[in-house]
Amino acid sequence: MRSGIICIGVCVFAALTGCSREKKRLRPQPASVIVFGAAARESQLQPAGQATEPHVINPSEGNAQDISDGERLFAQYNCTGCHANGGGAIGPPLIKKTWIYGGEPENIFDTIVKGRPNGMPSWGEKIPEYQIWKIVAWVRAMNKEEPRAATPERPDGLEQDSGTILGSHEKRVGK
C-alpha cells in the first residue's frame, strides 16, 4: 500500500518535469517571416498563371505572452479609440464573421500597415513589425481564432448580436 503511494508520487513528479514553460521572447523575431508583397495582392489575376499562395507565418501565433502583449499594445496605440475593445465604435467591429479586407493574419497585418480608406490610418513604420504581429494575434484571439490555452477570456458583453465568430465557428464545425 505504502509503496504504491510512493510509486504514484514519483510518477506524478516525473510527469511534472514535462511541464515546460512557454519561452518569453524579449527580442523581435528576425524579419524573414515578414511576407509583405504577395500577401498584399489585391487582384487574383496574375500574368502567366496563378502562383501558389504564399505561406505566411505569424511569429506570435499561439504565443500567450505575445497575445497578451498585443492586448496591451492595442490599448496603448489607441486602437481602442476607434474599435473600442473590439466591439466597434466609430471604427468597424473586430469581432465578426465577415472581414472587409480579409481575416487571415497576413490580411490583418496588411490592413494595419497600409491603412484602409475611410479612416484606418497607416501604421507602417510607426509600429515595429514584430509588435504589429502581436496585435494581429490579439485581434485573432478576440475572434477565438487562437488556441484557447493561449487566449485570455473575452468579456461576454463584447459579442455582437449578429455575425459573431461563434456563429461562423458553429458553421465550420457543422461542415
Binding site: K24, L26, R27, P28, R72, Q76, Y77, E125, K126, I127, P128, Y130, Q131
Partner: protein
C-alpha cells in the same frame, strides 16, 4: 588572532557609510522620525538582547551548589524565583506596550498633516517600469510633466499623490520618507520635506514584474532659486533643432516608432505611453535610474533596450548608424 578578527569586523563596519538611498541618511523631518524610531528600537532591543544573553551565559557558568544535588524543593527559593519571573514578565509587557506606543505615534506624526499653504503637490503615476511625474497647479499653463526625476525646493513640504497604471508599485525614497504603495485606480499620498540640498535615490519597493529592480527615481532637493530656475526651464517647449544633424534627428524621431509612445512638446510627438522627452537631456538618468544620462548610454539604450532592461516595454527600433547619430544629437540637445 582574536584581535585580527576584531579588526576585520571593524573594517567591514566602515563600509556602512550611508549612500544616497539610505534611511539612516535622513534628509528631512519625516525621515528623521523614521530614523529615530529605528535607532530607538535598535538600541533598546540591543540592550535587552545583551542582558538576556549575558544572563544565559552566567547561568551556564554557575556551578551547582553542593547541597543542590538532590533538587529538593525549598519554599524560600521557590517564592523568590516566582517573584523574579513575575517581575520580568511584567517588565516585558510594559516594554512591548511602550514600543507599540512609540511606533504608532511615529506613524501618526507622519500621516497626520494638514495641508500647509506653501506645499507643493506632485502627482506620481507608476507604470512598468518607470515613473510619470506631474507638478499640479491651479493654473494649467504652470503644470510640469516629466519622468523619473523629481526636483523639490529645500524647506517646502511636498505631497506626493501617487497612483499606478498597471500593477501595484511602491514609492520609496528612504532618505526622505517611508514607503507608500501606489495602487491602480486609487490615490495614496505621502508627505516629505528636504532640509538640505542633495540627491536622494528612490526605488520601487513592491515587486512589480520583470524590471522591478530597475525602477528607480531621483529626488533632487535644491534651494528655492535653483528650483524656480529648473521649473521655468521645464515649462518651456523643447529646444528647436539648430544644426542639420539635429534637424535630421528630429525627422528620424518623428518618422519612426519613437513618436507613438513619447512626447516632445513643441513637436508633433504626443505619445502618452512612455516618458516625456521634452527635457530629457537635463535629467540625471536614463531608463528610470538604470543608466547615467550620457551619449554612449543613450545610444546603447535606443539601439537595444532589451539587453539593458529585458522585458521592458520600449520597442526595438532598427536604425541606420547615421540615423542613430542624428537622433543622439537631437535627443542630447533637449535640455
Amino acid at each position: 588572532m582574536k584581535r585580527l578578527w576584531l579588526l576585520v569586523l571593524l573594517a567591514a563596519l566602515t563600509g556602512c557609510a550611508p549612500g544616497p538611498q539610505s534611511a539612516m541618511n535622513a534628509g528631512g523631518p519625516e525621515a528623521h522620525v523614521i530614523a529615530d524610531l529605528m535607532r530607538n528600537f535598535t538600541i533598546l532591543l540591543g540592550v535587552i538582547f545583551l542582558i538576556v544573553i549575558g544572563l544565559a551565559l552566567a547561568a551556564l557558568g554557575t556551578r551547582r551548589h553542593r547541597g543542590m544535588e538532590t533538587l529538593a524543593p525549598s519554599p524560600d527559593r521557590e517564592a523568590k524565583l516566582t517573584r523574579i519571573v513575575g517581575a520580568a514578565s511584567v517588565l516585558t509587557t510594559v516594554i512591548l506596550l511602550g514600543l507599540i506606543v512609540i511606533s504608532v505615534s511615529a506613524g501618526k506624526a507622519l500621516s497626520d498633516r494638514s495641508m500647509p499653504r506653501n506645499a507643493l503637490t506632485i502627482e506620481v503615476t507608476a507604470s512598468q517600469w518607470w515613473w510619470y511625474v506631474r507638478y499640479l497647479n491651479d493654473d494649467a499653463s504652470q503644470i510640469i510633466v516629466t519622468a523619473n526625476e523629481i526636483h523639490i525646493p529645500v524647506g517646502r513640504p511636498v505631497m506626493i499623490r501617487g497612483t499606478s497604471q498597471d500593477v501595484i508599485h511602491s514609492f520609496w525614497v528612504p532618505g526622505l520618507s517611508g514607503k507608500r504603495d501606489l495602487i491602480p485606480s486609487r490615490v495614496t499620498t505621502v508627505w516629505f520635506q528636504a532640509e538640505r540640498p542633495g540627491r536622494f535615490r528612490g526605488q520601487c519597493a513592491e515587486f512589480c514584474g520583470l524590471q522591478h529592480a530597475h525602477m528607480a527615481l531621483w529626488v533632487v532637493a535644491e534651494d528655492e532659486a535653483a528650483f524656480e530656475k529648473w521649473r521655468a526651464a521645464q515649462l518651456q517647449d523643447a529646444h528647436e533643432p539648430s544644426t542639420d544633424s539635429e534637424r535630421n534627428g528630429q525627422q528620424v524621431f518623428l518618422g519612426s516608432e519613437c513618436v507613438l509612445c513619447h512626447t516632445i512638446r513643441g513637436t508633433a510627438a504626443h505619445g502618452q505611453v512612455a516618458p516625456d522627452l521634452t527635457h530629457i537631456a537635463s535629467r540625471l538618468s536614463l531608463a528610470a535610474g538604470t543608466l547615467a544620462n550620457n551619449r554612449g548610454n543613450l545610444a546603447g539604450w535606443i539601439s537595444d533596450p532589451q539587453s539593458i532592461k529585458p522585458g521592458n516595454h520600449m520597442a526595438t527600433v532598427p536604425l541606420e548608424p547615421d540615423q542613430l547619430q542624428s537622433l543622439l544629437d537631437y535627443v542630447g540637445s533637449l535640455q
